[in-house]
Symmetry: C2
Subunit: 278 residues, 2 copies
């Protein structure tokens, strides 16, 4: 990024705050808006941002980043159409993109490129913001059909300046893959936690081993954000649940009928994990 | 434990090896058998055990611990009935106890107490053995109907000397609770890993965020051991899968019909986790 640039960020949570902190450290003039006045005061005091929207020099080039929950992002995009259209780059960081895409099409926003930094962790809020959050992480960039080359290059430079490696991917593939690798595990974790609580009538917390603790960590995720994501990526998530249930049923049949089939299934799982994750 | 005591351990893997290492350090005379000669040589050389079965003084009191996979344990119990009956204590450390219970009844083993140290981690084999593995961990003790008081006290002292806190629980409750809190998460993880590999056709490993890595860690678990566990605790595991699928279907319906219902479901999950785990 170049020092003379201006960035306007909507939403100074864990992601937005980390972007702001890192860009400001690079000397970029970062301005932000957040629902919480306390957050804005904290961010200015701690030199995470230079000021708010009112300090932005609209006569000079600027980029706009939304790091608000997806449904809020859509609302804000509608309310700030002109501001966005006049920007060099409009991007956002949510996990579910379909409605934003539609919105960009309807409003003929030609500088839109959707970004998904695969960098989430358990942190939340600006207190947890971290200049290194995006370092050596993947960022998926999804330009739309009408996105200008200039905006695509700009977005890539932005994420690279934050330390990320960029991958370009069309939005349908993005939504499909994320449904399987991120949204489905959350659906499972929420359902499992409910089942365990209902079924086992467990009074003694300590019975839960370390394995279960790790396995269910994501069931602590924010209801507001995840009900948004599930709503926005409904079709692909429901597809994923269906596919997962089929595998679960294969497993059920194996357990019922044959130890050696169960063993093979597990061995295949071991291999799949090695191939995909290790 | 008292210094004059003798312990015979079958199976010097991660659990058996850790028991041996800790007891030997306390000055107990520990002897062991293992399928692998290399493991025995290593254990003697590294003072994890004093010798093998042939070194055990059968004229003096001894306890027997099985840390072999559950199906192997059953086979070995049958082959060593007299040795076991003459022991002060017979215990084992597997995650699934039903067949061992039956076996103990059939063979009128009155010194049997089933132990389940909730202390597993990703380590495996004697190289990973650790004297502190059981410290501040729960050990579930399940005496059988005919188990003598003496054996129960003995088992409790054994685990306490390893640093564990003991909880007594009847075997049916043990199998039911473990099906929900340990076996079901494994079933899910194996199935999910298979689904992700099949469905998403992912060529780029780096797309998997840290969340998925933690969530699917247990899908790397040993096929031999887990097909045994699933086979031995079949009834309770199938019940758990059924119950979990019901919750998953509630989630499916919520996602399809109502964002606010989805949000409530997730909020309930958050609470359940807090109650049970945090």
């Amino acid at each position: 990024m170049e020092l003379k640039e201006q960035i306007l960020i909507f939403g100074l949570g864990h992601i937005g705050g980390s972007i702001a902190k890192s860009l400001c450290k690079q000397g970029i003039r970062v301005y932000a808006e957040d629902l919480s006045k306390k957050t804005i005061t904290y961010a200015i005091k701690n030199k995470i941002i230079k000021g708010t929207f009112s300090d932005l020099d609209l006569s000079k080039p600027y980029s706009v980043i939304f790091s608000t929950p997806p449904i809020v992002t859509n609302k804000l995009v509608n309310e700030n159409k002109d501001l966005i259209k006049n920007a060099v780059l409009f991007t956002e960081t949510s996990s579910s993109k379909n409605k934003i895409k539609k919105n960009a099409f309807i409003n003929k926003i030609e500088n839109a490129i959707l970004s998904h930094p695969i960098a989430g962790n358990e942190g939340s809020g600006i207190d947890a913001s971290d200049t290194k959050l995006f370092e050596n992480k993947i960022c998926i960039l999804s330009p739309l059909k009408m996105t200008s080359k200039n905006s695509t290059t700009k977005a890539q430079k932005l994420w690279e300046s934050l330390g990320s490696n960029c991958i370009k991917m069309d939005l349908n593939s993005h939504d499909k893959i994320l449904a399987a690798t991120s949204h489905l595990p959350h659906v499972i974790s929420f359902s499992l936690m409910r089942y365990i609580e209902k079924s086992s009538n467990i009074k003694n917390k300590v019975l839960m081993g370390g394995g279960l603790k790790d396995f269910t960590r994501i069931s602590s995720s924010d209801p507001e954000m995840w009900s948004d994501i599930f709503d926005l990526n409904k079709k692909e998530i429901l597809n994923s649940i269906k596919g997962f249930k089929k595998e679960l049923e294969v497993m059920e049949k194996n357990i019922l009928s044959s130890r050696s089939k169960t063993k093979n299934f597990i061995a295949e799982s071991n291999k799949a994990r090695k191939k995909i994750i290790d």
